[in-house]
């Protein structure tokens, strides 16, 4: 069986802006079909990484390969497979929404008009409104539409939902889930709204000061950490709890909530039984996982 080549590959990619090292020897390989959450603090290098992937930035050193082509040389054929929603949401403000959609659609032979119509209806997009007069949330809806309208193989979303209202965000996530069901779509979402991101992603990349500090499956990340609610069955909890890898502990006489690192559920339950306690193991939300990983680094 032949090995599937990555849709995105970065080899020792570095990029600096003056004295700021935005990317520092980044190594990354993204297999097709993955839904990746790209996380990191402000200035961690997420947007720079995404722009390098779509070829808007050229690395100072290293090589970026996107959809099998050097990102520097991405041509019409390759770009017709890449959708990109950028952080600034720069659009042609003087056009109406309808004009902008038609203008962008004209570039893509595979533009899906059914998807466009459904999106316009679902997201309540006003075609006759002037782009410049739209609220930030409405602009984001338009930016998302023109990025997904041609059903790209690789969809890159840089803070796509930051200005959307809760209902629009939920619809946006549904749309992503629908896209995911179509095999082969690769999506990278950079967002600070982690509660949304965790509903769709299967892979996590965490960046810190231009470096990737975590690159793995979301399930692996979840297995690495656990939140355990310990309840004493008879009497108070012992003064010392016999768990290894405790990252955080909040307790009273009868109950304790522990955050543990690298403990199997079976081992946790065994240890809880040994001290006459009931252990309720819960997976950590992505926000807490991110905080733990970022904190460790």
């Amino acid at each position: 069986m032949s090995e599937i080549s990555p849709i995105i590959e970065l080899n020792e990619v570095s990029k600096a802006f003056g004295r700021t090292q935005a990317l520092d020897g980044v190594e990354l390989a993204v297999q097709p079909g993955r839904i990746i959450g790209l996380l990191g603090a402000n200035g961690a290098g997420k947007s720079t990484l995404l722009r390098a992937i779509v070829g808007l930035y050229l690395p100072d050193s290293g090589r970026v390969t996107t959809v099998g082509c050097n990102a520097r040389d991405l041509g019409p054929q390759e770009l017709a497979r890449i959708g990109y929603v950028h952080q600034e949401g720069e659009l042609l403000n003087w056009m109406t929404v309808g004009q902008l959609i038609r203008y962008v659609a004209a570039y893509y032979p595979n533009w899906n008009e059914d998807l466009e119509r459904r999106y316009v209806a679902d997201f309540d997009v006003n075609r006759s409104a002037r782009v410049g007069s739209l609220s930030p949330g409405e602009r984001q809806k338009v930016a998302i539409l023109i990025a997904i309208g041609f059903e790209p193989d690789l969809l890159i979303l840089d803070e796509p939902a930051s200005a959307l209202d809760p209902i629009a965000r939920a619809r946006f996530l549904d749309l992503l889930l629908e896209l995911i069901q179509t095999e082969g779509h690769t999506i990278i979402i950079s967002s600070h709204i982690l509660s949304d991101v965790e509903k769709v992603i299967d892979h996590v990349i965490i960046m810190d000061r231009g470096r990737i500090v975590r690159d793995g499956s979301f399930d692996d990340l979840r297995e690495d950490y656990a939140r355990v609610r310990l309840t004493a069955l008879h009497g108070p909890l012992p003064a010392t709890l016999p768990f290894a890898g405790v990252l955080d502990c909040r307790r009273n006489e009868a109950e304790a909530v522990l955050t543990l690192r690298r403990q199997s559920p079976q081992a946790i339950e065994d240890q809880a039984r040994a001290i006459d306690c009931k252990a309720d193991i819960q997976p950590l939300p992505l926000e807490d996982l991110y905080r733990l990983v970022a904190g460790e680094k």
Binding site: F17, R51, V54, G55, L56, Y57, L58, R72, D73, L74, G75, P76, Q77, E78, L79, A80, I82, Y84, H86, E88, E90, L91, L92, N93, W94, M95, T96, Q99, R102, Y103, V104, A105, A106, Y107, Y108, P109, R130, V131, G132, S133
Partner: protein, 461 residues
């Protein structure tokens, strides 16, 4: 710290304003030096400084508009009352200072001390009136900040028009009339700046700030905002349909797709602003006809204006299916297309001046005969030199639009000097050198576009 003090701080804390002060000091020095060393006193010399108080009024108004246009301005406690005080705190001392030259007005003191004092008061009031005219312009003009760029031209245009001589005559011969007019105007101004409705109308108004001229994204935002407003009234579906079909018809590998795609926004912008382009072209052509020595200078304004409207697709963040090669070729095709278009426009205007020269009669203005002369056909080459140069400057100073003007200024100064002063004799252009200069400029421009498109970041913060 009082609200007034806080408002006054922006007059020394912002470097843009310091630049303007530098320019004002430079112009003032010239005016004063000319007055000191020129023994032949010309009428209007004493009112020379009056020209400077007008830009000051505009500056005070637009800087206050930056505060007033903020959505929170109506909630600022005590800010309404402070505006009038601030306007006077700045205007009064400057008006006093600028009226001082009249103390030495020849023969005035010998008439009677009372008349001398009256004339001094009249000079002060005239300064106040001109200052208020600047304020009114700054407060009422929709985009007065952009007007700041034209203020230096006042130093040239005002003396040319002789307005300072008229004002000087009014100050010295009709001081009572000036005093009465000032009393009425100041009263009206005081009432105008006190109405709550005036403040409410300005609160939350879209306003271009002085600092925006340094920021490419702000400039782009303003440009698109105003274009969108105009476009809302002048939408032309025929252009949309034409380009949608034209772009959609070509395959992704076809370069025409990207050139047409890049031309679409340009055509829309042109469709919105065509009246302005035609008006300025006509103005430039008429000026060039009556003053052939400055023809290269005024004709150069037309391609400059066209280049200012056009946004090359080189660094577009809108990621449509065009790679670096397509961005380069579309940008190059656009500049070449613009060059041809500008040549055609100017060529048509130049051709029109030939029959007009024999039809339009001479005009007499203040004893000077103005004769319409046909423009030389070599003028059609001017856009070919200006367009690559302007685009080169725009590409290189892409992040700071204010530098476009600063970089182009020496070039224009050179063209102006060489066409109006004896310097022109030193730099006589032969057709061969003109063609060589144009070829070099195009080569440089295209090489720079190529380098950026193929070997540079396409988005820069």
């Amino acid at each position: 710290m009082s609200v007034l003090t806080v408002n006054l701080r922006q007059f020394y804390q912002r470097w843009v304003v310091l630049l303007i002060y530098g320019g004002v000091i430079l112009v003032t020095s010239f005016i004063v030096a000319e007055g000191l060393f020129d023994s032949r006193r010309q009428e209007g010399a004493f009112a020379g400084l009056l020209i400077l108080i007008f830009p000051l009024g505009v500056l005070v108004a637009i800087m206050q508009m930056e505060v007033l246009s903020k959505p929170l301005s109506c909630c600022l406690p005590g800010h309404h009352g402070v505006l009038r005080r601030l306007v006077l705190v700045i205007g009064l001392p400057v008006a006093v200072l600028f009226s001082l030259p009249f103390m030495g007005y020849p023969g005035l003191f010998h008439t009677s001390p009372a008349w001398w004092a009256l004339v001094l008061c009249s000079a002060f009031c005239a300064n106040l009136l001109v200052y208020m005219a600047g304020l009114v312009l700054g407060f009422t003009m929709r985009n007065a900040t952009a007007f700041v760029a034209f203020l230096p031209s006042l130093a040239v245009l005002a003396p040319m028009s002789g307005v300072h001589a008229v004002i000087e005559r009014l100050i010295v011969r009709h001081p009572v009339a000036v005093l009465s007019l000032t009393a009425v105007t100041v009263g009206a101004g005081w009432w105008w700046l006190s109405r709550p409705a005036w403040f409410h109308r300005r609160c939350g108004q879209y306003w271009t700030e002085l600092f925006s001229f340094w920021d490419r994204r702000q400039i782009e935002r303003h440009r698109q905002f105003y274009a969108a407003r105009r476009f809302a009234k002048l939408a032309n579906p025929a252009i949309d349909h034409f380009f949608e079909r034209a772009v959609g018809r070509h395959r992704p590998s076809d370069l025409r797709k990207y050139v047409l795609g890049a031309l679409y926004p340009v055509c829309i912008m042109m469709a919105v602003q065509w009246k302005g382009v035609v008006f300025i072209t006509l103005l430039a052509v008429i000026w060039a006809c009556y003053s052939p020595s400055v023809a290269p200078f005024v004709i150069a304004v037309v391609p400059l204006m066209i280049a200012g409207v056009v946004e090359l697709p080189l660094r577009s963040v809108l990621l449509v299916a065009g790679g670096r090669r397509e961005r380069f070729l579309a940008s190059a095709a656009m500049i070449v297309g613009l060059g041809v278009a500008a040549m055609l426009v100017i060529g048509a205007a130049v051709a029109l001046t030939r029959p007009l020269a024999s039809l339009v009669p001479d005009i007499q203005v203040k004893g000077v005969t103005l004769r319409l002369q046909p423009i030389r056909f070599t003028m059609v080459l001017v856009p070919l030199a200006v367009l690559p140069l302007m685009n080169l400057v725009r590409i290189l100073f892409y992040r700071h639009p204010v530098l476009w003007g600063l970089a182009m200024m020496p070039v224009f100064l050179f063209v102006f000097m060489s066409s109006t002063t004896p310097l022109g004799r030193l730099v006589t252009l032969t057709p061969a050198t003109a063609v060589a200069v144009i070829v070099v400029l195009w080569g440089l421009c295209l090489a720079t576009i190529h380098r950026i498109a193929m070997r540079s970041d396409l988005v820069r913060e």
